[in-house]
Subunit: 226 residues, 2 copies
């Protein structure tokens, strides 16, 4: 527990958020730190995916995690026990992160020491979609038990993300999840989005996810070298 920093964050002024996020992105370019904003419903598997990502990429990149939770440190403890560095942002009731909160996390973890920093946002498909955190890319998880209708109900989240990780595909048999219907709904909102099917439990698809992230980090690193 003692290695995890706990920061109590307060919500910034909404109108200033975009400017703050751009400033953060500029700083991250200078240090070649790829910041990923990972969002989903509660229990879709954000922490599990982060642990799998650490397994796959830890030999190639220096990885850190900025955990956000309303009132707990359990995820930061999991990440730390898994051998990566984590800081915990305690949002104290806020249902999303904004750029000011992320800035506190970046400073607390010393962002310039990392190649890849992952923000585990608050479990929520609504508000996190509205706030630019300064991240280079936005990822979301949808898990099979949540149902194929979620793009209809939370369209902004599906619209703003660069990649959709469909988790818990090992539950597909037990479920009436219609994969094609889900894909059609997602592509209608966001034709450019990448969809990757995984199961964090069985390991299925984790290599594909790791490869997508690897290429994004490398491409970001090349761009920032120019």
């Amino acid at each position: 527990m003692k290695e995890i920093k706990l920061i109590e964050v307060k919500e910034g002024i909404l109108s200033e958020n975009d400017n703050k996020a751009e400033t953060l992105r500029d700083e991250l370019k200078k240090s070649k730190t790829f910041l990923l904003n990972l969002m989903s419903s509660p229990g879709s598997g954000k922490t599990s995916l982060i642990l799998k990502t650490i397994d796959v990429l830890k030999d190639e990149f220096r990885i850190g995690v900025i955990e956000a939770d309303i009132d707990s440190m359990v995820d930061a403890v999991s990440v730390t026990n898994h051998g990566a560095k984590a800081v915990q942002l305690k949002t104290g009731g806020f249902c999303h992160l904004d750029a000011s909160m992320v800035e506190e996390g970046l400073q607390a973890i010393n962002y310039e020491r990392y190649d890849l920093l992952i923000i585990e946002n608050v479990g929520n498909l609504v508000c996190p979609a509205e706030f630019d955190t300064g991240a280079v890319k936005k990822a979301m998880i949808l898990s099979v038990p949540e149902g194929d209708d979620k793009p209809l109900k939370y369209p902004l989240m599906f619209s703003v993300c660069d990649v959709l990780v469909l988790n818990k595909v090992d539950y597909m048999e037990l479920s009436d999840f219609d994969f094609q219907a889900m894909k059609n709904r997602v592509y209608k909102l966001n034709p450019e989005i990448k969809i990757i099917e995984v199961s964090c439990r069985t390991g299925q698809g984790i290599d594909e996810w790791g490869e997508w992230l690897r290429q994004e980090i490398k491409s970001f690193s090349c761009i920032t070298l120019d």
Copy 2:
């Protein structure tokens, strides 16, 4: 579609919410309308539980549903196709309902015609817990695939609810969900909460849920008769 009313709602002033909620509760007592506020993460099974509730209780009570979604009417269509009356509140980005929004829903559905009205709140474990909607009782769903650690991460929701419906218990085998650990975490936050295990898919536990709700409605109706 034409039988479903669509109301675009705006957020009321937070400080006035509690007064508004109390006023609504007084009105509902006069008409003996039991209002249930049903909350959960996206995809936990709120709509499925409502459809099962209609099946079990429709011969005893006049049932209506107030659906809330950011931007869709799919749930209201499901309820209407199932033979119950529904109105759809379109929150337009807000991540929760407050008492003013619920008031609009109650007026739109003509609340005094019903014995049981169920609010299907926005899928979100955070903000809906903070807002009194005027409901007589608060129910939440946790589904097995979301994990047993949710009480640690979203303590307020588990603290404010009268009943916790644990849904998708048919997924228990595939999952590492620790039922005893979840119960311990929930009872620590809320020793009075009732926990009911169900599977909306198989029907397991739906009778117990129906019986709990039946007794609550009858008891409310007796109290309001005094």
